[in-house]
């Protein structure tokens, strides 16, 4: 049976008709047209589908869309403010922390959740939190550098 629900994504309200068995990932991509969130394995083992739910990193392939009703969802599309890249996005570009770009949205959102939770993490802490996001291209080094550089920045601004 389909339910008519309102989903709050990136600050916008979307009225959609969904079945309970639709995952948040599939609804974001197929019903809301938000293609930035990627499907790498659909079984929660790669992090490519990461979105923020109430600011925390979630695997959208293992969430029922209906379970996201009433909770603020942020996808990669919601990160840049008014055309300005988020510092994490800028850092990934500048450090060369991406190649094919498929894991990138998930990486950036997980990094954001990590830094929002702990503004000055150690490199070990960054690695541990990012480790659920797999990358086959970069070897991770520049990704960790990019996240560390933003963490270092936030200290200065604080």
């Amino acid at each position: 049976m389909k339910h008519a629900v309102a989903l709050s994504v990136n600050g916008d309200t979307y009225d959609v008709l969904i079945s309970p068995n639709e995952t948040l990932l599939d609804v974001l991509r197929e019903k809301l047209g938000l293609m930035g969130t990627k499907k790498g394995c659909d079984l929660g083992a790669c992090g490519a589908c990461t979105v923020l739910v109430e600011g925390e990193a979630h695997l959208s392939c293992l969430m029922l869309a209906i379970d996201a009703v009433g909770r603020e969802v942020v996808t990669i599309e919601g990160l840049a403010q008014g055309g300005e890249l988020h510092p994490l996005q800028r850092a990934f570009v500048e450090k060369g922390a991406l190649q094919c770009g498929f894991c990138t949205p998930g990486m950036i959102l997980t990094a954001k959740a990590a830094l929002d939770e702990e503004a000055k993490p150690t490199e070990a802490s960054i690695k541990k939190k990012m480790a659920g996001n797999l990358c086959r291209c970069t070897g991770y080094k520049k990704i960790i550098e990019a996240v560390s550089s933003v963490a270092a920045l936030s200290g200065k601004e604080g």
Partner: protein, 321 residues
């Protein structure tokens, strides 16, 4: 992979939840979803009704009352290891919680969900198409166990990280249904039956874990040995608790049997005193009591090696403190 169809309910309180679970034979609880949804995509679990407990208030909490640490079953793993009291006084639990899956799994996953996870086997945790290459296994509704090639028996392993950490603390579980509430030893929840790993009564819901005062007066640790340092289930997970005077040691394991279990014979041998030979004896007794089989990609002989190593290293560490 798409999820099968199901009816979805968001009960507003425990009574309602319990009612539904009693009435509907095919109803399952949705907590974090990181175990259930994967199994549903694989079609090894196809509940007719899904009961989302997350909308019931007050199932997520961490409190200390009279020295007893009380944790709501829907408390996220991340909240548990970030809690200052738990991080300091129950390091074994904090360690176990922070070792589950990845950061995302720790964010979404709950203590109740992790404890009540489905057993695992390399022939079971596969897609329906994959499993169609062979006869339906006993756990999935068929007759044969592909691990031991026998009928009507299931050797799937319990692989949760939290259970052994709580078992060494002699933790209790609070089960609630519309009929009432009961408190049991956590240990009694696990049946040792691969096909039906948990012993809930109809309509019962795990709502709380209670950790006795004694646990935080002693010392606890959890060591997860896995292929990678993130995402993976344990190859062997081992937990230890020691009384302040180190005369009382408890050991528990996961991923080596059909349920998480305490190595009580080994514990007995360590009671009262410790010397070099005790280590070898403890290992011997553990391996006598715990017999892993080849349900995973890691051989049972390797698991035994790792168990031996973990026992020695944990005991050595705690004795050195």
């Amino acid at each position: 992979m798409r999820l099968p169809k199901f009816e979805y309910v968001e009960p507003k309180d425990l009574k309602e939840a319990s009612s539904i679970l009693s009435k509907e034979v095919g109803a399952r609880i949705l907590a974090g979803g990181t175990d259930l949804l994967v199994n549903m995509k694989h079609r090894v679990e196809t509940p007719a009704v899904i009961v989302n407990l997350k909308k019931i208030p007050e199932l997520s909490f961490i409190r200390t009352e009279n020295g007893v640490v009380r944790i709501g079953a829907l408390t996220s793993l991340k909240k548990i290891y970030n809690h200052p009291y738990i991080a300091e006084k129950l390091p074994g639990l904090a360690s176990a919680a922070s070792s589950v899956g990845s950061y995302h799994h720790q964010t979404m996953g709950t203590i109740g969900g992790n404890l009540c996870q489905q057993n695992r086997c390399k022939y079971f945790n596969q897609s329906r198409w994959w499993r169609s290459s062979r006869e339906l296994c006993f756990k999935a509704g068929g007759e044969l166990c592909h691990v031991v090639k026998k009928k009507s028996i299931c050797y799937s392993s319990y692989c949760g990280d939290i259970a052994p950490a709580l078992l060494v603390m002699n933790a209790k579980a609070v089960l609630e249904s519309k009929e009432g509430r009961r408190e049991v030893d956590l240990e009694s929840l696990f049946t040792g039956d691969g096909k039906r790993p948990l012993s809930f009564m109809r309509g019962e819901i795990l709502t709380e874990i209670r950790i006795p005062k004694e646990a935080h007066e002693g010392f606890s640790m959890y060591t997860k040995f896995a292929n990678r340092e993130s995402l993976d289930f344990p190859i062997v997970g081992a937990s230890l608790w020691a009384s302040p005077d180190r005369k009382n040691i408890r050991l528990a394991f996961t991923a080596v049997d059909r349920k998480p279990l305490r190595a009580k014979k080994a514990e007995q041998s360590l009671r009262g005193g410790f010397h070099e030979e005790s280590l070898e004896e403890a290992v011997r007794l553990v391996l006598e009591e715990v017999k892993p089989v080849n349900t995973s990609l890691y051989s049972s002989s390797y698991k035994r090696e790792v168990m031996g190593f973990l026992v020695k290293s944990m005991i050595t560490k705690v004795m050195g403190r």
